[in-house]
Structures are given as structure tokens and as C-alpha cells.
Symmetry: C2
Subunit: 280 residues, 2 copies
């Protein structure tokens, strides 16, 4: 590839890395995907994104471009060969940028907070997230994709809504984006996930489920020692009750680790962690 060398530093479960990959594939650009270990960040990542130390980083001829939406604009401005990611018209471009930012600023945090909430707080957060999805549902009226007939910036920015949202909420036992409540958005999810480049690029739902299930559990391990000791003491008192509940089952939810297994230890942790693997 020589001078045209294109590398992407990313992780497979990152909603943001996948944005860059979809855009590169749309443009037909060959790239090397360099898998990052975010628990032990590589000198390459730290060198090329010293400010945020996050993925994805696109390296083009050795020069780094950071922040996924900025990467999408860079790809669109650099390679004119494939389909356009942003429309030509300045007003349509500003609208696309507006909705992409809306997804990042509003949808991501609202859904993420739901996973660590309980009771009344959870109800409020679900209401908030429902409002954001309704906004997207309305924006889709009369269109197949947010970009119109073809996939564009907002669709790619919507990876999270199309796939990650359902995975995260399934892990905490919530259904939000249903065909009944959001017919247009549900149709968009199907169309988007089944379009050829997206299909070959995004991870399988089951893999993501397994990944985040494990991520939620591991987060337990990173709590402070004192908190852990207190939790162990409390748990000891409850072991007799649990023992009875577990009879005949491997995990509380049956054969696989499920909601009850992870719920107790997740909540105190949520405000301290960044969105997992959706570093932009």
C-alpha cells in the first residue's frame, strides 16, 4: 500500500471503531485493523491519540485522525471514489451532523445509564430514552435510511441504536426498541443490519451479548477493596437464602449467568466507568 497505507486502531466490540470500518468499506479502501487491548494500551495508541487515549484512531500515511465522527468526515473528504457519506448540500450536511451529534450526546448516555439504574430512577431514564427514540422515529418518516435511500453519516453513527442498545438492555431485562412502539425505527434497524457492508462488519449479536455480560461481571472486580469486603460480609448473611434458590440450577437464571447474577454488583460502579468499549 506504501504511501496510501491505511491502518485502524480499534476493538471489535466498539460501536465507534465499527463506524470507521463501515465507512472505509463503503469507500472500498483496504485497511489494516490493529486490535487494541484497552486494559493495557499500546504505545501506538498512546502516541497517536495522546489526548483521549481512545479508539478508534485512523492512521492515513502515518497521520492520526481521532474521534469517530471526525474520522467519518475525513474518510468522506479524502476518498471520493465510493458513495458519499455526507450529502453535497450544506443544509443537508448540517442536518446529518446534527443527528449524528444527537445520537452521541443524547441516546448513548441515556441507554447506558439505564443499565445501572433501579426502580424509580430506571423508570425516569426509560422515559427519557423513549423520548429520544421517538425523536429518531419521527426523523425517519418517509425515508428508508436517515441518509435517504442510501446509508449515510447518521445511519453509521446509529450503530449503537441498531445493535448495541438491544444487547445492553437485554442484559438488564428491558425491551425498549419494539416494532409496536417504533415501527419505522425497527424497520430501519432491520434494513441497516441487513445491508451487505454493515452485515459483514458488525459483530454477531450473540458475541456482543456474551462480551457485555462478561464486561458487566468483571466490573465487579474493579470496585474498591473496602467495598468488596463489605459486599462479601453482606453476601455471607444471605447465602442460606440463595442456597435454597439455587437448588437444581447452575446459575440463578438457569444454565447461563443472567440478570440476577450481575445486577447487585453493577449499580455502584456505573457512574465511575466510561461507556465500555464505545470509546470514540
Amino acid at each position: 500500500m506504501g504511501d496510501q497505507e491505511v491502518k485502524l486502531l480499534g476493538v471489535w466490540a466498539s460501536v465507534f471503531s465499527k463506524r470507521a470500518e463501515i465507512a472505509l468499506k463503503m469507500k472500498g479502501i483496504n485497511y489494516e485493523f490493529v486490535v487494541q487491548d484497552l486494559s493495557n494500551k499500546s504505545p501506538e495508541l498512546l502516541q497517536h491519540n495522546p489526548i483521549h487515549k481512545k479508539v478508534p484512531v485512523l492512521l492515513h500515511k502515518g497521520k492520526p485522525i481521532c474521534e469517530s465522527l471526525i474520522i467519518l468526515e475525513y474518510i468522506d473528504e479524502t476518498w471520493k471514489s465510493g458513495p458519499s457519506i455526507l450529502p453535497e448540500d450544506p443544509y443537508a450536511r448540517s442536518t446529518a451532523r446534527f443527528w449524528a451529534k444527537f445520537i452521541d450526546d443524547k441516546c448513548h448516555p441515556a441507554i447506558w445509564k439505564i443499565t445501572g439504574s433501579q426502580g424509580e430512577e430506571r423508570e425516569k431514564l426509560i422515559e427519557e430514552a423513549t423520548g429520544h427514540l421517538t425523536t429518531l422515529e419521527n426523523e425517519l418518516k418517509g425515508k428508508r435510511f436517515f441518509g435517504g435511500d442510501e446509508i449515510g453519516l447518521v445511519d453509521i453513527a446509529g450503530n449503537f441504536v441498531a445493535l448495541w442498545l438491544g444487547v445492553l438492555l437485554e442484559l438488564v431485562g428491558i425491551q425498549l426498541l419494539t416494532k409496536e412502539k417504533f415501527p419505522k425505527l425497527s424497520e430501519w434497524v432491520d434494513d441497516y443490519l441487513n445491508s451487505s457492508i454493515v452485515k459483514e462488519t458488525l459483530p454477531a449479536r450473540e458475541e456482543l451479548l456474551a462480551f457485555f455480560r462478561s464486561w458487566f461481571q468483571q466490573s465487579k472486580g474493579s470496585q474498591g477493596e473496602e467495598e468488596c469486603e463489605k459486599a462479601i460480609e453482606e453476601a455471607a448473611e444471605q447465602l442460606i437464602i440463595l442456597e435454597n434458590e439455587l437448588k437444581g440450577k447452575k446459575f440463578f437464571s438457569g444454565d447461563e449467568i443472567g440478570l440476577v447474577d450481575i445486577a447487585a454488583n453493577w449499580k455502584p460502579h456505573i457512574d465511575k466507568v466510561p461507556y465500555p468499549f464505545i470509546y470514540q
Copy 2:
């Protein structure tokens, strides 16, 4: 103006409204500035920015463009007459977008939180903000403006750093952006504030000081009743001490309301309010 009609819905003390105004003036575009009352939002604002209900909103031929950085890109793409706000080269464009986002995501919240902090928490926040300013200082090395020889996207996005930062920190008795610690950034502040369009567009420092002093005080009034009653009780106990301290002075800091007058009532409020008048 007819078809070319350009309106800007904004407020004079908004760092974000001023971004749009500077860009319009750079391009030599005549526009009507429609002052908004954010405590009683106009039907026009609610109609054109129903999602965020914030200023600025640029109306061009009746079509609304929201979010200040998106407005800057729209202005640059729509009017090719004046100087460019973003550079031509895609890599340079991505770098400009990166730093503009850095200012919004990192510098604004860090400085804002300082104003409502005390003691150890404040020390930590000052350290964080110092880190962000050091990052900007390094980015300026070898350049007059972030955009190079001329003002560009990052400079305009830096309104807050150039003017608002010093105003807010003065109100809580902190000096952060000094010539000794940040020689390049201080030089940039001078050059930026003294460039003709910026000078005629940004509010006078004294006006901003007066505005935010009053804003900090008013925020006291919006606390819950119970909190207020408790505060009054506590205050009553301390009145004798204060009475002595005030002898011969109108306010604690002399003739004008100053730090001590506003500090006590500000802190519990800060996490509940959005950045004042810097709605983007």
C-alpha cells in the same frame, strides 16, 4: 434580503451565539440578531430548535441550523466569499474539528466546575483545567492562531478560553491563564481579542463580569425552599461575626459584591444547572 435572509437567534452573553456572529461577520453576511429570553423561550426558538431549545439558531432562508460548531461549518460551506473558516486539506480540517471538540468537551466543563467547587475538589479541578490549557498551549507552538496566520474554526471555538474563562474565574478569585504559565496562549488571547471582527463582536469584559456576578447570585434564588430555610437558620447564627466583619464596608469585598458574598450559595447549585448562557 428576501431569499437570502439570515437571522440569528441568540443572547449577547453566550459564548456559542458569539461563535456564529464572528463567522457571519468574517464572511461579510448581513444578519438580523434576534435576542432571546432564555427564561421565557420564544415560539420562534422552540419551533426551530425543538430538540435542544437552545441558542444559537441560524435561520437561512427560513431553514434552521442548530449547534454552534455545526453552524460554523454551514457558514463556511454556504458562503465562499470571505476567508475560510476551515482549511481546505482534509487532514487539517480533521485536526481543526478535533480541537474545537476538545474545547467543548474538556475545557468548558472543567472551568465551569471550578466555579462551584471548594477546597481539595477545587485543587483537583484546577489541576485538570491546567492540563487542558497546557494541551492548547502546546498546540499553538509556532503559530499565531490555532488556524495558523489567520483566525479559523478553533480560534472561534476558543471564545470561551479567550474571554469567558477569565471572567468566571475572577468571580471566584482564581487566576489560571497567566502570561507566566501560558505565554503562547496568553499571546493568542491578546491577538484574538484585538483582531477587528472579534473586538467588535465580543462583549466588553466588564459587562460579562457584571452579568455573571448577577447570574451567580440569582442562582441562589432557585434553590429549594427547604434548603433556603436551612441556610437562613445557619446564617442567623453567624450574623454577629459577619456584622463585625462588615463594619465600614458596604459589601464584604468593599464597595462591590464580590467572592465572599456569592460563594456560599453557589456550590450546592452547580451540578443542577447547565452552563449559563453558553447553550450551544
